[in-house]
Symmetry: C3
Subunit: 162 residues, 3 copies
């Protein structure tokens, strides 16, 4: 590594639950604040975290329409992986986060982007699920493949799969 | 690292769901196609992915027999971690993968092996679950311990736990 | 890395299930036995693994009290992530582990500590969940933040998120 290059942190975000999203963004923003060059690669259910909160997703074919209805996504619709309890647990966790002055996932995404964290959707899963760039919130990078991720990861000091 | 050595990618596959298996094999085959030396270390529920699809597993003791009946495995029996919906979601995902010309997990395993990806079962979990070499499909490497995995991982550019 | 420094292994333990805890401690103790310098960073549900088995947790506010009642924790209360079957699957797994002469999680924690593995709770999740140092068993290090984890991870040969 050249002297003037920043150390890299690369995170695959596979999971789409509120708690895993929190862990991913806490690590990404902490890394950025420590001067690391951070890339988050969103795939499978993780794509839900960076979908737009508003509006439906246009996708072709009945099955993809059904999948995107079930699996609607958006940072405000994430649930806990444990103790969701029909939404009560998730609501409690959000209250506790607010009380402790923690950002919401929505705020975390904006904060991460403002700190230069790159937010990248995975082309393979976008293809299978019928998602195009306009399904994602503003500021999300262009859709890229697994080779892009591995290219970043092999130059990273730390790579995590969440 | 010597100049002529290939960079290593090592993946622990702990989970046995269809979506996690897809993520693991997409990354493993992409890594191999980029010239990386790839090892996949299967443990716990991940062992289900590389079990034979045909025939039952012979194991000693009533509890191990029960466990292997419940936890039958084989690449064709994997389910989604979300939206399985009594099999409907899993069936839909398989259809979408086929429509997008993606390989099945069965094809992915054969492809990975043809590309030189090493597929290795973990001895600790094989011991607990009563699995022996003949529970696994052809081409799977001999059963090895956690020290083998860590030995590979400490020489790897990228190590993931899926 | 200086010649006389030990190679580092850093594990984030996010999950609180029996099977994931086993995987984490098998890797941590194997790493320590291979002469690696091992740190385990416990966060979210993973904190349950290192909570005391005895007594309740004192926390302020009704919601935190409820959360800590639901999410009681302690190494003896962990469940399998699959096939828990109202506790039957977990009981079976514990029997199989004992039969195969594997340590319990409780024994694994003591063993890891005796081998010099550092067991560290994450301050962010402790803050949200209202956990203080006295919620954790003896020998657990002081509560630290995500920056501490990333500091360890960037100096590690192997970093895993479990």
């Amino acid at each position: 590594m050249a002297e003037n290059e920043k150390e890299k942190l690369t995170i695959v975000v596979f999971s789409g639950e509120l708690d895993k999203a929190m862990a991913a963004f806490i690590l990404a923003t902490t890394g950025a604040s420590m001067g690391m060059d951070v890339t988050m690669f969103f795939t499978f259910w993780g794509l839900n975290i960076i979908k737009k909160n508003e509006g439906g997703i246009k996708s072709k074919g009945l099955m993809r329409k059904m999948l995107n209805l079930l699996n609607r996504g958006g940072s405000k619709r994430l649930k806990l992986s444990r103790f969701n309890m029909l939404g009560l647990g998730t609501w409690m966790m959000k209250k506790l986060m607010k009380e402790s002055n923690y950002p919401t996932i929505d705020e975390f995404i904006n904060m991460a982007q403002a700190m230069g964290v790159k937010i990248v959707p995975c082309s393979t899963t976008c293809g299978i699920m019928g998602l195009e760039q306009d399904a994602f919130r503003d500021g999300v990078e262009g859709i890229v493949g697994a080779a892009y991720f591995l290219g970043e990861a092999r130059e990273s000091r730390v790579t995590l799969f969440i």
